[in-house]
Assembly symmetry: C2
Homo-oligomer: 473 residues x 2
């Protein structure tokens, strides 16, 4: 899956995309194009207009383009707060130190909030305490999760699908979020899991050779395996490899490609005529694993096993497209669980990049590096002086160390205590950072120890198309 | 490979395509797009303008669209003769009873004429009498054939690649032309051959299920095998099948897809934004077999074995694109041998269609059907009355029976004698048709006999990825 690194969602850019999308819709109607094609284009137009209003505070008006405040300018930040969020598979942009406004995103994407009631139902149905990512709203949005729980209650089979775009060998703790959660889902539901390494996509988007992209896929697979997936229920595959090994995968890719037009991917992903045809057809390759007969070794020719996809919310456009196509090719729509984004050490509104070792904690960092990074680079919600801090307290909403603790500190009471103490000023920034360091150091050390255990043979087995053990009827 | 059945190349349509292509070029330059991208777009623009001049007799002028004479109107035919030819993978259109003007096509496509000197060199190098298709200019155009002959003289390996788009079970004699010639090439050069059945393409372009398209691929393969290919040197593959069986094919498809933009396929194939992303990315799939490492079972990881592609001239756009990409991904450009089109019984300017049983001789026709079709439907260059015919003679240039004889009657002297006698009027139309019937009846009967011999096991073996026997260094 792509990581959000390119593109731009400035108001002016949005203004132009809305104009283009508007023309598109008129063109489609003029040509009496297929209804679903028009519907999808209109849906996209509306969502762009919502983004535009969110970004500018005004309704789109084709006659007056917006002033285009640079998102990084303090003024823009102060003035518009969280209103400038832009999210697609290649761009996640917010000017708020608190990060993206996820409630707005749910409205814009048309997904559903993971509310207390759903979390409770998951607890009821599985008999397990909900994962902290659910308790704390880190997985905050879903599509059709109730269907999945119905299926589970009725002993109907389903499977899990997630993925990773192997853009480099370097993975940071943020990359583990979907996998930590997916492992929990596999444990509590005891279902098969497929993990797609989109090395073909990284080859298409980045300046990599096929060999490099595949090499990264295998290296990243080791870190994924180190999360503790059950080898008897988990299949990890590289697109470059699996396409040439599966009797079912390409057939589904072509089926999807027949039912998606360039107009649609243009609307959903903002592709242009200058993009290579590989990028243009790629969305079908990320969509195909949502359908069970893409894995005949696991599901034989069954097309009715529903799929649940845990992923970061920026991947949703791929699966909106997938859910649009599914009924037209006779397959069930995949269900989704969406996570928030993992903030960079420098703050929720800055981008993490594998090329900047200080932008996050990497899975290869030593205890000493972790300590230094947190102390030197973690954006603080503390006050300028100890005196002020004691008097006014710190701001957990923008403090990256605290945000990281919400991701990785299991103990709810302790987390709450820290929040209270830091907010009141009883806890100083140095002490807060110390708490995080003490959580991250063992976490990373244990990950590194487990990764060492992952031999080439184990990787090979995870990546071999094979029957998985599950008790489907 | 697609067969020319859709689209339209009328002057007005050309006028609009030139306008669009012009905008495209200006857009690319404005954006300082990659040089090769601009060059290709410009090349296409010029070729469209040449077609336009050929079709209208006037230079393109954006301010005055052409009157749009229906190509079938007698007036248009009389007035513009062969000047209205339009050829792309989906459209072959001419208003001349003599058929397309192939010398013009060579200029427009920028290929080279197969002249006497090349035919002589083929004879010298192979020590074999050139096939009648070469002696008679049925294979009339080439790209880099001299390179192939150099390679052969220097004992350097090369291989043959041709294909078929399995749009239905029904194949007519015209469909055999490339295969008859390819079998001859395999015999005289003793090289491996790969035959691509583009069932994925037919699924994308036509109202077929995957299963139907694949079924047609297997049925058509039987007729192809019946042409007598050497099973130890020939691999026939269905895209839908082989993509999921080959460690090399998809990797080359992605490589090609990374190096071709939508602008390029738009220019070359006339795709629009409403086309599905499957059509848009398909050209890479027809291109990939031009590179030897798409077949690791045959060539292992060798990327330097050059490819020679015998095909009808309407397939050239795919391979112009392939030759443009090849050097950029480090592969040799495929060489090509282009054939003329096989005329419909009703005349060279009408279209053959599998849905009209009377438009050609089908491989399933009985002796009686052949006799009736030729006598009833073969367009005649004869005169209205026997007296006129005796006096003025017939016209072989437009007589379909004579055209068919040039394709299938092996004896040059006899063919020349028939031409003389029919032109002088010594031979009557009935007698000419009788000659054709006597050639076609045994030809079809023998084909049917050989096809009966083709068991499912034989098809399975031809279509199994495997080592082929050849003596490459």
């Amino acid at each position: 899956m792509p990581n959000s690194e390119q593109g731009c969602g400035s108001p002016l850019e949005l203004f132009h995309r809305i104009a283009a999308q508007g023309e598109l819709v008129r063109g489609l109607k003029a040509r009496n194009a297929a209804k679903d094609e028009i519907d999808l284009a209109v849906k996209m137009l509306l969502s762009l207009k919502t983004s535009y209003k969110a970004a500018t505070g005004e309704d789109y008006n084709m006659d007056c383009p917006p002033r285009d405040p640079a998102p990084e300018s303090g003024e823009g930040l102060a003035a518009t707060d969280a209103d400038e969020d832009f999210v697609d598979p290649w761009t996640v942009q917010t000017s708020s130190a608190k990060g993206v406004d996820y409630d707005k995103l749910i409205v814009r994407f048309g997904s559903s909030k993971i509310d207390k009631e759903l979390v409770n139902r998951i607890e009821r149905v599985t008999g397990q305490r909900p994962h902290r990512f659910l308790r704390r709203g880190i997985f905050f949005s879903h599509r059709d999760m109730h269907q999945i729980l119905d299926a589970y209650e009725n002993k109907k089979p389903f499977y899990l699908y997630t993925g990773r775009g192997p853009s480099s060998e370097a993975m940071h703790v943020g990359h583990l979020i979907p996998f930590i959660f997916t492992k929990w889902l596999q444990d509590v539901f005891n279902v098969p899991l497929v993990i797609q390494m989109t090395d073909d996509e990284k080859y298409l988007w980045k300046d990599l050779t096929l060999e490099q992209a595949y090499g990264y896929a295998v290296e990243n697979a080791k870190d994924i395996i180190a999360c503790g997936f059950d080898i008897s229920k988990t299949f990890i595959f590289s697109d470059l490899d699996y396409m040439g090994m599966s009797p079912g995968f390409y057939k589904n890719v072509v089926k999807i490609q027949k039912h998606v037009t360039f107009n649609q991917v243009k609307g959903i992903f903002g592709f242009t005529d200058s993009d290579c045809i590989g990028k243009i057809s790629f969305p079908a390759i990320q969509a195909a694993p949502s359908f069970s007969n893409s894995f005949p070794q696991i599901f034989r020719d069954r097309t009715d096993v529903q799929c649940l996809i845990p992923c970061a919310i920026d991947q949703d456009p791929y699966f909106r497209m997938t859910r649009d196509v599914a009924p037209r090719i006779g397959y069930p729509k995949p269900a989704l669980l969406h996570s928030t984004f993992f903030p960079a050490l420098q703050g929720a509104q800055t981008k993490m990049s594998a090329s900047d070792p200080n932008s996050s904690i990497f899975l290869t960092d030593t205890a000493k590096q972790i300590k230094t990074k947190v102390n030197k680079h973690a954006f603080s919600g503390g006050r300028d002086t100890v005196e002020e801090h004691r008097q006014f307290g710190g701001n957990c909403d923008v403090d990256v160390s605290f945000m990281y603790l919400t991701f990785f500190l299991e103990d709810d009471d302790k987390l709450e205590q820290i929040r209270k103490d830091y907010t009141s000023g009883a806890m100083l920034t140095g002490e807060l950072k110390q708490e995080l360091i003490e959580v991250l150091q063992p976490l990373i050390a244990e990950h590194q120890a487990r990764r060492k255990e992952v031999t080439d043979e184990i990787v090979k087995e995870f990546m071999t198309p094979r029957k998985l053990f599950y008790d489907f009827q």
